[in-house]
């Protein structure tokens, strides 16, 4: 389909025709040839696009731009379950890692080593070595695309320290780096002719034989189920830390839709138990206080007035996230914290900074302190506690160079994907790098793949899936009580936090695995008392919740069987790292709807496995 001819209106009209016809004709294959793509294989005339990107955070937008730049003849559509700019990328604060100054001792080797060590040696070194080189390119590309980084005195991009890094290589734009980066990418996508399909929710990935043929979407505005054919699909739907519903820094929509869809399509979920806890979430609600606050000398203080990090790490507050997060939780357990239960906290002290410095470098987090706790960090230390922050695990990537998955035609990028850059613990500043680097690679990979395809898939599977979903929606919107689902979700989040959180034990995880199956059974019986399909947000909440339960079950299985401590995964009953048995990736797939676990070796090329000390 040529880009000129493609408008959203056409797209939607053909989508609606197809779904209407689908409903009318039962098997529904015949009447849809209006699209008349004789050579395309798209016999049903389903809406089609060369590259379909699902998700519009940094990774999705970078992927779309990459296609447009390298393959300008291909059409690209970015799908989002809302307006494109409502995503987790814009919430990133501290900065984006990438060495741009090679004059003062820093190098790609050091960035790679820090990342490998940060990952607790669970990162794949072949991918990481390529990743850090691409990181440098990414900073310059973003600068060239118009991202207004803060600047140093010599007018190059400004940098600061991030946890676990030996040199200042965290490039930043105040403490809104993610927002500014994402808007740079959005502006570029808009300028370069990327089309957006707003208010569409990913239901499933469709296959033609052993190839990806497109996706099935829910048009949230109308309630129509829309099969869309694509030569290549990029999943960039973000992470799944909303499994801890009440205590996470991520947005409400971080429900891992892409990972869940990939699992249902038969792909593997790699290292699902690797969930990062950020040390400094605001006491009330867990919104993020950036690591840059500690990079600028922020001190962590317990109820005895001690700067307690001295007990845990030589690097003090700038130890990696997993270590700082556990140190704070340990202080809470020792009774050295303020408050009680879920509202326990320690203090983060930034009062050594001037108001001017804070307004220049940390204005956003000052705002967060005032908004949620009514406290001004210019004047007083603010209460913080760890908060679930990032999913290291994700869809298993077959090849880092193009971010392809094991399903031909399906690519993944950003937090959705797991190319094993971050292993068991992601370093601060590496997520925006991940989003930018893997987004571009996936876009170029999908573009290349699409340009080699002679036509679209048959649409048969997409069609079948669409029918299945339509029937399901009719059934689940036919009853139930108002707060049943939300009460269940609340309880689900709390139990995940208590049993699959920062400290884990075999007993707790075993019980939790059972309890998650009960959650699944309750969920399967749920109904929503709102049959109106016009932008039915309760239905979206329902679908997201279903994905979260599935992903939590996978994470729980991975955590239960990984009988060691590594990075963010901390087992009190196995307090040491076990390289003999667990220098391996957990690979979880679905068999008859149940998660099953296998392992895969970590790729070690350059950096020998050693004790991880900070």
């Amino acid at each position: 389909m040529s880009e000129q001819k493609f408008t959203r209106r056409d797209f939607l009209q053909s989508a609606c025709i197809s779904v209407g016809a689908l409903a009318a004709s039962g098997s529904g294959v015949s009447a849809l040839a209006a699209d008349n793509k004789k050579d395309s294989g798209n016999k049903d005339g389903l809406p089609s696009v060369d590259v379909l990107v699902i998700g519009s955070g940094g990774a999705g937008l970078r992927a779309a731009v990459a296609v447009r730049k390298k393959y300008p003849n291909l059409s690209v559509v970015v799908v989002n379950k809302g307006m494109p700019s409502r995503n987790a990328t814009c919430m990133a604060e501290g900065g984006i890692n990438g060495v741009i100054d090679f004059e003062h001792g820093d190098s790609h080797e050091l960035h790679a080593y820090d990342t490998v060590k940060g990952s607790d040696f669970l990162g794949d070194q072949d991918a990481i070595i390529k990743f850090v080189e691409k990181a440098t390119e990414a900073i310059h590309e973003l600068d060239y695309a118009g991202m207004p980084f803060n600047r140093q005195k010599n007018n190059t991009v400004a940098r600061r320290f991030a946890g676990g890094a030996k040199y200042e290589r965290c490039n930043y734009a105040a403490d809104k780096t993610g927002s500014i980066l994402m808007h740079t990418c959005l502006d570029e996508a808009i300028t370069r002719g990327v089309k957006f399909l707003l208010d569409h929710y990913l239901l499933d990935v469709a296959m033609d034989g052993d190839k990806c043929e497109g996706a099935v979407l829910l048009d949230m505005q109308t309630g129509d189920v829309t099969p869309v054919l694509a030569k290549a699909v990029v999943l960039a739907t973000g992470g799944y830390t909303r499994v801890f519903f009440n205590r996470t820094s991520t947005p409400f929509n971080a429900s891992g839709d892409g990972i869940a869809a990939a699992l249902r399509a038969g792909l593997a979920f790699k290292d699902p138990e690797m969930l990062q806890f950020h040390p400094t979430g605001i006491r009330t609600g867990g919104a993020l206080i950036t690591e840059a606050a500690r990079g600028l000398g922020g001190k962590l203080i317990n109820n005895k007035g001690e700067r307690f990090m001295s007990k845990y790490s030589k690097r003090m507050e700038l130890a990696p996230r997993d270590i700082v997060a556990r140190s704070i939780e340990t202080e809470i357990r020792l009774g050295n914290a303020f408050g009680e239960g879920m509202s326990s906290y320690v203090l983060l002290d930034l009062t050594h900074l001037s108001e001017e410095q804070i307004m220049n470098e940390l204005p956003q987090i000052r705002h967060v302190g005032l908004l949620f706790d009514g406290m001004d960090l210019v004047k007083e230390p603010i209460p913080i506690r760890p908060t679930a922050h990032y999913s290291m695990g994700g869809i298993e990537i077959a090849k880092f160079d193009d971010m392809s998955t094991h399903l031909p035609g399906l690519f993944a990028a950003g937090e959705t994907s797991c190319a094993s850059i971050h292993g068991a613990n992601r370093l601060g500043g590496n997520s925006l790098t991940d989003t930018t680097v893997t987004g571009k690679l996936a876009g170029e990979g999908a573009g290349e793949y699409a340009s080699k395809q002679t036509g679209f898939g048959s649409g048969k599977h997409a069609h079948e899936l669409a029918q299945k979903w339509q029937a399901k929606f009719k059934e689940i919107t036919s009853g139930g009580t108002s707060n049943e689902m939300y009460d269940l979700r609340e309880e689900f989040g709390k139990q995940n936090w208590d049993n699959m959180g920062i400290y884990r034990t075999g007993d707790k995880l075993e019980a939790h695995a059972k309890s998650l199956e009960e959650f699944q059974a309750k969920y399967d019986a749920l109904k929503i008392p709102n049959p109106n399909m016009t932008y039915n947000t309760a239905l979206i909440d329902y679908l997201e919740f279903g994905n979260l339960i599935m992903l939590a079950r996978c994470a729980c299985l991975g955590a239960l069987e990984r009988k060691e401590c590594r990075g963010a995964h901390f087992r009190e009953d196995y307090p040491k790292r076990d390289d003999v048995n667990f220098l391996k990736h957990s690979i979880v797939t679905l068999k008859d709807g149940k998660p099953t676990l296998a392992y895969k070796d970590v790729v070690i090329t350059k950096y020998p496995v050693e004790e991880r000390k900070y």
Binding site: M83, S85, Y144, P148, P251, L371, S482, P529, T537
Partner: protein, 324 residues
């Protein structure tokens, strides 16, 4: 208290009223209150939210007619602002198509952003391989505009959009055009400026409501003014808007210091065009808002000499390059 929410189910409009105790309201943000209502009273209520910390822009709505970013608005502050009212009315953003309840359609906004090509085309000395060079002062010049989170509060308040949206764009679109045009790395501001002019730059009615309601303290009005100055400097001074601005200055300096509406209209739009506006002029005169005799000039305002001095000093400084 009563929370009244304006509803739309895709076919018909109606209202829902939710009774809440004051202790259920206090301590909440407007967003958490909406979530509380959805969770406990009415699962059919639709609104959008994502980050809940004022950075993603998803949850802007109107309270008693004015736009607020719901996650960034504490209920206590609202109660104080409206003097502890018995009820509050929540409605979707104005000047957007409503899809349902508090959910609005963003697609036309994206298409408007597309018109002004919001990404810079960097100068030829820069490259994608090595990036750009920019001073912190040049970053600071556009830093505020980059705080825009596309929440739509400004567009909701815009009087021009409400009167006629056919020849105008959302205020934030102009902010995006300005930050690209004014970026020191940009090769050519015209890329963004020309489509801004073609799509209503001179049609802003100066009400400044957009400035008043922006949760990030951005002045889209100011950015529109800056773009206009840029246009005049680039010689893009043909058409009604620039003539209007010139007429303003002429009145201030060479006239009596009073804005002469009759001359303004005649100078801006020409005599012929104005014959169609006689009815407006008549109404203005009847209401005492315009004196027809002013076409011959009126008394100079107090301090007119100082005003002339100020404008002349500014012109001189501009020539010397001390101000931009």
């Amino acid at each position: 208290m009563k929370i009244i929410i304006e509803r739309f189910d895709g076919k018909k409009k109606y209202e829902s009223t939710y009774e809440l105790r004051i202790d259920e309201v206090k301590g909440q943000t407007l967003l958490s209150l909406l979530q509380y209502i959805k969770r406990t009273q009415d699962i059919t209520l639709n609104f959008t939210a994502a980050c809940r910390m004022a950075i993603c822009g998803a949850c802007a709505v109107r309270v008693n007619g004015h736009s607020y970013l719901a996650c960034d608005t504490k209920m206590e502050e609202l109660l104080e602002e409206y003097e502890n009212p018995e009820s509050m009315r929540i409605s979707p953003l104005n000047n957007f198509r409503v899809i349902t309840d508090l959910v609005v359609d963003w697609e036309p906004s994206i298409e408007n952003l597309r018109k002004v090509k919001p990404t810079i085309t960097p100068k030829s000395e820069f490259s994608e391989k090595t990036g750009c060079v920019q001073t912190q002062a040049d970053v600071d010049a556009i830093k505020k505009q980059w705080d825009c989170i596309l929440c739509g509060c400004c567009a909701s308040e815009c009087n021009k959009l409400e009167a006629d949206a056919s020849d105008y764009m959302q205020p934030f679109v102009f902010t995006h055009a300005y930050r690209a045009a004014d970026d020191s790395r940009s090769k050519d501001p015209m890329i963004h400026l020309k489509p801004a002019i073609a799509n209503g730059l001179w049609n802003c009615v100066h009400c400044q409501e957009c400035v008043d309601r922006c949760p990030k303290g951005i002045s889209s009005f100011g950015d529109i003014e800056s773009l206009r100055v840029m246009a005049m400097k680039k010689g893009l001074n043909e058409g009604m808007g620039p003539a209007h601005a010139e007429a303003f200055l002429l009145d201030m300096v060479e006239g009596d210091g009073r804005l002469n509406e009759i001359k303004l209209a005649l100078r801006s739009e020409g005599v012929l065009a104005n014959t169609t506006k006689l009815d407006i002029a008549y109404n203005l005169m009847k209401a005492g808002k315009m004196n027809p005799l002013h076409i011959f000039g009126g008394e100079k305002i107090e301090g007119h000499a100082e005003l002339v001095k100020m404008v002349e000093a500014a012109r001189k400084a501009e020539k010397e390059g001390t101000i931009k």
